[in-house]
Assembly symmetry: C2
Homo-oligomer: 206 residues x 2
Amino acid sequence: MDNKISGKVTSRLTLYHSILCEYIEDGIELISSPQIASRLGIDDSQVRKDFGLLKNVGRCRVGYNVKELKDKIEKTLGFAHQKDAFIIGAGHLGLALAKYDNFSSYGLNIIALFDNDPYKVDMHINNKQIFHITKLPNLVHRLNVDIAILTVPKNQAQKVADFLVASDIKYIWNFTPAVLRVPDNIKVWNENLIASFLQFACKDIE
Amino acid sequence: MDNKISGKVTSRLTLYHSILCEYIEDGIELISSPQIASRLGIDDSQVRKDFGLLKNVGRCRVGYNVKELKDKIEKTLGFAHQKDAFIIGAGHLGLALAKYDNFSSYGLNIIALFDNDPYKVDMHINNKQIFHITKLPNLVHRLNVDIAILTVPKNQAQKVADFLVASDIKYIWNFTPAVLRVPDNIKVWNENLIASFLQFACKDIE
Protein backbone atom coordinates (compact mmCIF):
# COMPACT_ATOMS: atom_id res chain seq x y z
CA MET A 1 0.00 0.00 0.00
CA ASP A 2 1.13 3.50 -0.77
CA ASN A 3 2.32 4.91 2.57
CA LYS A 4 1.11 8.38 1.67
CA ILE A 5 -2.52 7.20 1.83
CA SER A 6 -4.03 8.13 5.19
CA GLY A 7 -6.27 6.04 7.39
CA LYS A 8 -9.36 8.01 6.45
CA VAL A 9 -8.70 7.62 2.73
CA THR A 10 -8.04 3.88 3.20
CA SER A 11 -11.35 3.58 5.00
CA ARG A 12 -13.22 5.38 2.21
CA LEU A 13 -11.48 3.36 -0.52
CA THR A 14 -12.65 0.11 1.09
CA LEU A 15 -16.22 1.48 1.20
CA TYR A 16 -16.02 2.48 -2.49
CA HIS A 17 -14.73 -1.04 -3.15
CA SER A 18 -17.79 -2.60 -1.45
CA ILE A 19 -20.11 -0.48 -3.58
CA LEU A 20 -18.22 -1.42 -6.76
CA CYS A 21 -18.55 -5.13 -5.88
CA GLU A 22 -22.33 -4.63 -5.59
CA TYR A 23 -22.43 -2.96 -9.02
CA ILE A 24 -20.48 -5.87 -10.54
CA GLU A 25 -22.92 -8.36 -8.97
CA ASP A 26 -25.76 -6.35 -10.52
CA GLY A 27 -24.04 -6.32 -13.93
CA ILE A 28 -23.67 -2.51 -14.04
CA GLU A 29 -20.60 -1.33 -15.98
CA LEU A 30 -20.36 2.39 -15.24
CA ILE A 31 -20.55 4.41 -12.04
CA SER A 32 -20.36 8.16 -11.40
CA SER A 33 -18.75 9.92 -8.45
CA PRO A 34 -22.10 11.49 -7.35
CA GLN A 35 -23.63 7.97 -7.21
CA ILE A 36 -20.88 6.82 -4.85
CA ALA A 37 -20.95 10.05 -2.84
CA SER A 38 -24.69 9.91 -2.24
CA ARG A 39 -24.51 6.27 -1.00
CA LEU A 40 -21.96 7.32 1.63
CA GLY A 41 -23.48 10.70 2.45
CA ILE A 42 -20.25 12.49 1.56
CA ASP A 43 -19.31 15.16 -0.93
CA ASP A 44 -18.82 14.35 -4.61
CA SER A 45 -15.58 16.37 -4.66
CA GLN A 46 -14.18 14.14 -1.89
CA VAL A 47 -14.77 11.02 -4.00
CA ARG A 48 -13.08 12.59 -7.04
CA LYS A 49 -10.15 13.72 -4.89
CA ASP A 50 -9.70 10.18 -3.51
CA PHE A 51 -9.82 8.71 -7.02
CA GLY A 52 -7.10 11.18 -7.96
CA LEU A 53 -4.79 9.23 -5.61
CA LEU A 54 -5.26 6.04 -7.65
CA LYS A 55 -2.84 5.74 -10.54
CA ASN A 56 -4.15 6.20 -14.09
CA VAL A 57 -7.87 6.03 -13.41
CA GLY A 58 -9.67 6.85 -16.63
CA ARG A 59 -13.07 8.54 -16.65
CA CYS A 60 -15.37 8.90 -19.62
CA ARG A 61 -18.16 11.45 -19.89
CA VAL A 62 -20.73 9.23 -18.17
CA GLY A 63 -18.57 7.92 -15.36
CA TYR A 64 -15.94 5.40 -14.34
CA ASN A 65 -15.58 1.81 -15.52
CA VAL A 66 -16.61 -0.23 -12.47
CA LYS A 67 -14.21 -3.16 -12.98
CA GLU A 68 -11.21 -0.96 -13.75
CA LEU A 69 -11.88 1.21 -10.70
CA LYS A 70 -12.20 -1.88 -8.49
CA ASP A 71 -8.87 -3.24 -9.77
CA LYS A 72 -7.10 0.09 -9.17
CA ILE A 73 -8.36 0.24 -5.58
CA GLU A 74 -7.22 -3.34 -4.95
CA LYS A 75 -3.79 -2.57 -6.35
CA THR A 76 -3.45 0.66 -4.37
CA LEU A 77 -4.50 -0.95 -1.06
CA GLY A 78 -2.35 -4.02 -1.65
CA PHE A 79 -5.13 -6.66 -1.48
CA ALA A 80 -2.99 -8.84 -3.74
CA HIS A 81 -0.47 -9.51 -0.96
CA GLN A 82 -2.12 -12.36 0.93
CA LYS A 83 -1.35 -12.51 4.64
CA ASP A 84 -1.96 -15.42 7.02
CA ALA A 85 -3.04 -14.94 10.62
CA PHE A 86 -4.09 -16.90 13.70
CA ILE A 87 -6.92 -15.88 16.02
CA ILE A 88 -6.00 -16.25 19.69
CA GLY A 89 -9.11 -16.72 21.83
CA ALA A 90 -12.16 -18.60 20.54
CA GLY A 91 -14.72 -16.57 22.50
CA HIS A 92 -17.56 -14.63 20.88
CA LEU A 93 -15.26 -12.04 19.32
CA GLY A 94 -12.75 -14.60 18.01
CA LEU A 95 -15.55 -16.68 16.49
CA ALA A 96 -17.16 -13.56 14.98
CA LEU A 97 -13.88 -12.62 13.29
CA ALA A 98 -13.34 -16.21 12.09
CA LYS A 99 -16.77 -16.09 10.44
CA TYR A 100 -16.19 -12.67 8.91
CA ASP A 101 -15.87 -13.83 5.29
CA ASN A 102 -15.04 -10.36 4.13
CA PHE A 103 -11.46 -10.57 5.42
CA SER A 104 -10.25 -13.07 2.85
CA SER A 105 -11.35 -10.95 -0.08
CA TYR A 106 -9.05 -8.24 1.27
CA GLY A 107 -6.01 -10.50 1.52
CA LEU A 108 -6.30 -11.58 5.15
CA ASN A 109 -6.47 -15.36 5.60
CA ILE A 110 -7.46 -16.66 9.02
CA ILE A 111 -5.70 -20.03 9.15
CA ALA A 112 -6.79 -21.34 12.56
CA LEU A 113 -7.94 -20.39 16.07
CA PHE A 114 -6.37 -21.14 19.45
CA ASP A 115 -7.94 -21.42 22.90
CA ASN A 116 -7.19 -23.00 26.27
CA ASP A 117 -10.68 -24.48 26.70
CA PRO A 118 -10.51 -28.25 26.09
CA TYR A 119 -14.20 -28.29 25.08
CA LYS A 120 -13.50 -25.95 22.16
CA VAL A 121 -10.37 -27.69 20.89
CA ASP A 122 -10.82 -29.60 17.61
CA MET A 123 -14.08 -27.82 16.80
CA HIS A 124 -14.25 -26.12 13.41
CA ILE A 125 -15.65 -22.70 12.67
CA ASN A 126 -16.03 -21.53 9.07
CA ASN A 127 -13.70 -24.43 8.08
CA LYS A 128 -11.01 -23.28 10.50
CA GLN A 129 -9.86 -25.60 13.27
CA ILE A 130 -9.57 -24.55 16.93
CA PHE A 131 -6.27 -25.79 18.41
CA HIS A 132 -5.14 -25.88 22.03
CA ILE A 133 -2.98 -22.83 22.73
CA THR A 134 -0.01 -25.08 23.56
CA LYS A 135 0.16 -26.05 19.87
CA LEU A 136 0.86 -22.46 18.86
CA PRO A 137 4.70 -22.37 18.79
CA ASN A 138 4.83 -25.46 16.60
CA LEU A 139 2.20 -24.17 14.14
CA VAL A 140 3.74 -20.68 13.96
CA HIS A 141 6.90 -22.28 12.60
CA ARG A 142 5.35 -25.03 10.51
CA LEU A 143 2.88 -22.71 8.76
CA ASN A 144 5.14 -19.64 8.80
CA VAL A 145 2.47 -17.39 10.33
CA ASP A 146 3.60 -14.30 12.21
CA ILE A 147 0.34 -12.34 12.69
CA ALA A 148 -1.89 -12.98 15.73
CA ILE A 149 -5.35 -11.48 16.26
CA LEU A 150 -5.77 -11.27 20.03
CA THR A 151 -9.33 -11.65 21.35
CA VAL A 152 -8.85 -13.09 24.85
CA PRO A 153 -10.36 -11.49 28.00
CA LYS A 154 -8.57 -8.34 29.21
CA ASN A 155 -7.22 -9.97 32.37
CA GLN A 156 -5.44 -12.68 30.34
CA ALA A 157 -4.21 -10.40 27.56
CA GLN A 158 -0.69 -9.67 28.86
CA LYS A 159 0.06 -13.28 29.81
CA VAL A 160 -1.10 -14.50 26.39
CA ALA A 161 0.82 -11.70 24.61
CA ASP A 162 4.01 -12.86 26.38
CA PHE A 163 3.33 -16.37 25.11
CA LEU A 164 2.75 -15.08 21.55
CA VAL A 165 6.09 -13.26 21.63
CA ALA A 166 7.85 -16.37 22.98
CA SER A 167 6.21 -18.33 20.13
CA ASP A 168 7.78 -15.99 17.51
CA ILE A 169 4.64 -14.03 16.60
CA LYS A 170 5.81 -10.65 15.25
CA TYR A 171 2.57 -8.70 14.76
CA ILE A 172 -0.34 -8.52 17.22
CA TRP A 173 -3.71 -7.06 16.18
CA ASN A 174 -4.99 -6.36 19.69
CA PHE A 175 -8.78 -6.42 20.12
CA THR A 176 -8.54 -6.46 23.93
CA PRO A 177 -8.76 -3.18 25.88
CA ALA A 178 -5.40 -3.99 27.56
CA VAL A 179 -2.33 -1.91 26.73
CA LEU A 180 0.26 -4.65 26.08
CA ARG A 181 3.92 -4.61 27.12
CA VAL A 182 5.98 -6.16 24.32
CA PRO A 183 9.63 -6.00 23.20
CA ASP A 184 10.57 -3.28 20.70
CA ASN A 185 10.72 -5.66 17.72
CA ILE A 186 7.05 -6.68 18.08
CA LYS A 187 4.41 -4.51 16.40
CA VAL A 188 1.06 -4.09 18.18
CA TRP A 189 -1.97 -2.58 16.45
CA ASN A 190 -4.63 -1.60 18.96
CA GLU A 191 -8.15 -1.97 17.60
CA ASN A 192 -9.63 0.75 19.67
CA LEU A 193 -13.39 0.31 19.39
CA ILE A 194 -14.18 2.75 22.13
CA ALA A 195 -12.15 5.49 20.44
CA SER A 196 -14.23 5.15 17.29
CA PHE A 197 -17.40 5.27 19.34
CA LEU A 198 -16.26 8.43 21.12
CA GLN A 199 -15.53 10.07 17.78
CA PHE A 200 -18.90 9.04 16.40
CA ALA A 201 -20.99 9.77 19.44
CA CYS A 202 -19.45 12.95 20.72
CA LYS A 203 -19.13 14.72 17.40
CA ASP A 204 -22.52 13.83 16.02
CA ILE A 205 -24.84 13.45 18.98
CA GLU A 206 -25.58 16.47 21.07
CA MET B 1 -15.77 16.28 22.97
CA ASP B 2 -13.67 19.05 21.50
CA ASN B 3 -14.23 18.83 17.74
CA LYS B 4 -10.68 19.91 17.03
CA ILE B 5 -9.35 16.63 18.45
CA SER B 6 -8.62 14.20 15.61
CA GLY B 7 -9.33 10.49 15.48
CA LYS B 8 -5.70 9.57 16.06
CA VAL B 9 -5.44 11.80 19.13
CA THR B 10 -8.73 10.40 20.49
CA SER B 11 -7.36 6.90 20.05
CA ARG B 12 -4.14 7.75 21.88
CA LEU B 13 -6.01 9.55 24.70
CA THR B 14 -8.09 6.42 25.36
CA LEU B 15 -4.89 4.34 25.52
CA TYR B 16 -3.30 6.82 27.95
CA HIS B 17 -6.54 6.58 29.96
CA SER B 18 -6.22 2.77 30.18
CA ILE B 19 -2.65 3.08 31.44
CA LEU B 20 -3.70 5.69 34.01
CA CYS B 21 -6.46 3.36 35.29
CA GLU B 22 -3.82 0.64 35.79
CA TYR B 23 -1.63 3.07 37.77
CA ILE B 24 -4.58 4.00 39.99
CA GLU B 25 -5.33 0.31 40.63
CA ASP B 26 -1.67 -0.11 41.61
CA GLY B 27 -1.82 2.93 43.92
CA ILE B 28 0.78 4.93 41.97
CA GLU B 29 0.26 8.70 42.14
CA LEU B 30 2.65 10.13 39.56
CA ILE B 31 3.43 9.23 35.95
CA SER B 32 5.92 10.71 33.46
CA SER B 33 5.43 11.15 29.73
CA PRO B 34 8.40 8.80 28.92
CA GLN B 35 6.73 6.06 30.99
CA ILE B 36 3.54 6.37 28.93
CA ALA B 37 5.44 6.70 25.65
CA SER B 38 7.49 3.56 26.22
CA ARG B 39 4.38 1.48 27.03
CA LEU B 40 2.89 2.47 23.67
CA GLY B 41 6.11 2.41 21.67
CA ILE B 42 5.66 6.04 20.63
CA ASP B 43 7.70 9.19 21.06
CA ASP B 44 7.74 11.07 24.34
CA SER B 45 7.24 14.38 22.50
CA GLN B 46 3.99 13.00 21.01
CA VAL B 47 2.61 12.27 24.48
CA ARG B 48 3.51 15.77 25.70
CA LYS B 49 1.96 17.33 22.61
CA ASP B 50 -1.29 15.38 23.18
CA PHE B 51 -1.38 16.45 26.83
CA GLY B 52 -1.02 20.03 25.61
CA LEU B 53 -4.51 19.67 24.09
CA LEU B 54 -6.03 18.97 27.51
CA LYS B 55 -6.99 22.09 29.40
CA ASN B 56 -4.91 23.15 32.42
CA VAL B 57 -2.90 19.99 32.93
CA GLY B 58 -0.33 20.66 35.61
CA ARG B 59 3.04 18.92 35.65
CA CYS B 60 5.52 18.91 38.52
CA ARG B 61 9.20 18.07 38.16
CA VAL B 62 8.70 14.33 38.56
CA GLY B 63 5.65 13.94 36.34
CA TYR B 64 1.88 14.25 36.13
CA ASN B 65 -0.66 13.56 38.83
CA VAL B 66 -2.33 10.33 37.65
CA LYS B 67 -5.85 11.07 38.94
CA GLU B 68 -5.88 14.64 37.64
CA LEU B 69 -4.67 13.53 34.21
CA LYS B 70 -7.33 10.81 34.08
CA ASP B 71 -10.07 13.32 34.95
CA LYS B 72 -8.87 15.78 32.30
CA ILE B 73 -8.93 13.08 29.60
CA GLU B 74 -12.44 12.02 30.63
CA LYS B 75 -13.62 15.61 30.48
CA THR B 76 -11.99 16.26 27.11
CA LEU B 77 -13.38 13.08 25.52
CA GLY B 78 -16.83 13.61 27.02
CA PHE B 79 -17.11 10.32 28.97
CA ALA B 80 -19.47 12.08 31.36
CA HIS B 81 -22.27 12.21 28.79
CA GLN B 82 -23.83 8.78 29.14
CA LYS B 83 -25.38 7.38 25.96
CA ASP B 84 -27.74 4.43 25.68
CA ALA B 85 -27.67 1.99 22.78
CA PHE B 86 -29.26 -1.24 21.54
CA ILE B 87 -27.34 -4.06 19.88
CA ILE B 88 -29.15 -5.43 16.82
CA GLY B 89 -28.12 -9.03 16.13
CA ALA B 90 -27.28 -11.44 18.96
CA GLY B 91 -24.70 -13.43 16.99
CA HIS B 92 -21.08 -13.84 18.06
CA LEU B 93 -20.19 -10.19 17.40
CA GLY B 94 -23.29 -8.81 19.12
CA LEU B 95 -22.68 -11.00 22.16
CA ALA B 96 -18.99 -10.04 22.22
CA LEU B 97 -19.90 -6.35 22.25
CA ALA B 98 -22.56 -6.91 24.93
CA LYS B 99 -19.91 -8.54 27.12
CA TYR B 100 -17.35 -5.80 26.46
CA ASP B 101 -17.46 -4.22 29.92
CA ASN B 102 -15.12 -1.48 28.88
CA PHE B 103 -17.84 0.38 26.99
CA SER B 104 -19.78 1.49 30.06
CA SER B 105 -16.75 3.12 31.65
CA TYR B 106 -16.55 5.32 28.55
CA GLY B 107 -20.18 6.43 28.73
CA LEU B 108 -21.74 3.86 26.39
CA ASN B 109 -24.53 1.85 28.00
CA ILE B 110 -25.76 -1.19 26.13
CA ILE B 111 -29.37 -1.46 27.30
CA ALA B 112 -30.55 -4.59 25.46
CA LEU B 113 -30.06 -6.82 22.42
CA PHE B 114 -32.48 -7.72 19.64
CA ASP B 115 -32.60 -10.77 17.37
CA ASN B 116 -35.12 -12.64 15.23
CA ASP B 117 -34.14 -16.08 16.56
CA PRO B 118 -36.90 -17.29 18.95
CA TYR B 119 -34.35 -19.52 20.76
CA LYS B 120 -32.28 -16.48 21.76
CA VAL B 121 -35.20 -14.30 22.86
CA ASP B 122 -35.46 -13.77 26.66
CA MET B 123 -31.90 -14.99 27.24
CA HIS B 124 -29.65 -12.63 29.21
CA ILE B 125 -26.06 -11.78 28.39
CA ASN B 126 -24.03 -9.70 30.85
CA ASN B 127 -27.36 -8.74 32.53
CA LYS B 128 -28.82 -7.49 29.26
CA GLN B 129 -31.96 -9.09 27.88
CA ILE B 130 -32.34 -10.30 24.27
CA PHE B 131 -35.69 -9.16 22.85
CA HIS B 132 -37.41 -10.21 19.63
CA ILE B 133 -36.69 -7.65 16.93
CA THR B 134 -40.43 -6.86 16.62
CA LYS B 135 -40.27 -5.28 20.09
CA LEU B 136 -37.78 -2.66 18.88
CA PRO B 137 -40.10 0.25 17.89
CA ASN B 138 -41.88 0.11 21.23
CA LEU B 139 -38.65 -0.01 23.27
CA VAL B 140 -36.99 2.76 21.22
CA HIS B 141 -39.78 5.07 22.31
CA ARG B 142 -40.29 3.78 25.85
CA LEU B 143 -36.59 3.88 26.74
CA ASN B 144 -35.74 6.88 24.56
CA VAL B 145 -32.81 5.12 22.82
CA ASP B 146 -31.74 6.36 19.40
CA ILE B 147 -28.40 4.56 18.86
CA ALA B 148 -28.27 1.07 17.29
CA ILE B 149 -25.16 -1.08 17.00
CA LEU B 150 -25.72 -3.24 13.92
CA THR B 151 -24.13 -6.70 13.98
CA VAL B 152 -26.41 -8.77 11.72
CA PRO B 153 -25.12 -10.80 8.72
CA LYS B 154 -24.23 -8.72 5.65
CA ASN B 155 -27.12 -10.05 3.56
CA GLN B 156 -29.67 -8.88 6.14
CA ALA B 157 -28.03 -5.55 6.91
CA GLN B 158 -30.02 -3.30 4.56
CA LYS B 159 -33.40 -4.84 5.44
CA VAL B 160 -32.68 -4.47 9.16
CA ALA B 161 -31.35 -0.91 8.68
CA ASP B 162 -34.66 0.01 6.98
CA PHE B 163 -36.49 -1.38 10.01
CA LEU B 164 -34.24 0.59 12.40
CA VAL B 165 -35.00 3.81 10.53
CA ALA B 166 -38.74 3.03 10.56
CA SER B 167 -38.42 2.43 14.31
CA ASP B 168 -36.97 5.95 14.86
CA ILE B 169 -33.35 4.98 15.41
CA LYS B 170 -31.23 8.04 14.47
CA TYR B 171 -27.65 6.74 14.72
CA ILE B 172 -26.35 3.42 13.38
CA TRP B 173 -22.91 2.11 14.37
CA ASN B 174 -22.51 -0.32 11.48
CA PHE B 175 -20.30 -3.37 12.15
CA THR B 176 -21.47 -5.16 8.99
CA PRO B 177 -19.44 -4.87 5.77
CA ALA B 178 -22.57 -3.62 3.94
CA VAL B 179 -22.75 -0.02 2.75
CA LEU B 180 -26.19 1.02 4.00
CA ARG B 181 -28.71 3.21 2.18
CA VAL B 182 -30.41 5.48 4.71
CA PRO B 183 -32.27 8.81 4.60
CA ASP B 184 -30.20 11.98 5.00
CA ASN B 185 -31.27 12.58 8.61
CA ILE B 186 -29.83 9.24 9.80
CA LYS B 187 -26.15 9.10 10.75
CA VAL B 188 -24.22 5.91 9.95
CA TRP B 189 -20.76 5.25 11.38
CA ASN B 190 -19.04 2.41 9.54
CA GLU B 191 -16.76 0.36 11.76
CA ASN B 192 -14.37 -0.60 9.06
CA LEU B 193 -12.27 -3.42 10.51
CA ILE B 194 -10.70 -4.34 7.22
CA ALA B 195 -9.50 -0.76 6.65
CA SER B 196 -7.64 -0.82 9.95
CA PHE B 197 -6.11 -4.16 9.05
CA LEU B 198 -4.96 -2.85 5.67
CA GLN B 199 -3.33 0.13 7.37
CA PHE B 200 -1.64 -2.09 9.91
CA ALA B 201 -0.58 -4.87 7.60
CA CYS B 202 0.45 -2.96 4.53
CA LYS B 203 2.42 -0.24 6.25
CA ASP B 204 4.27 -2.45 8.70
CA ILE B 205 4.65 -5.85 7.08
CA GLU B 206 6.77 -6.04 4.03
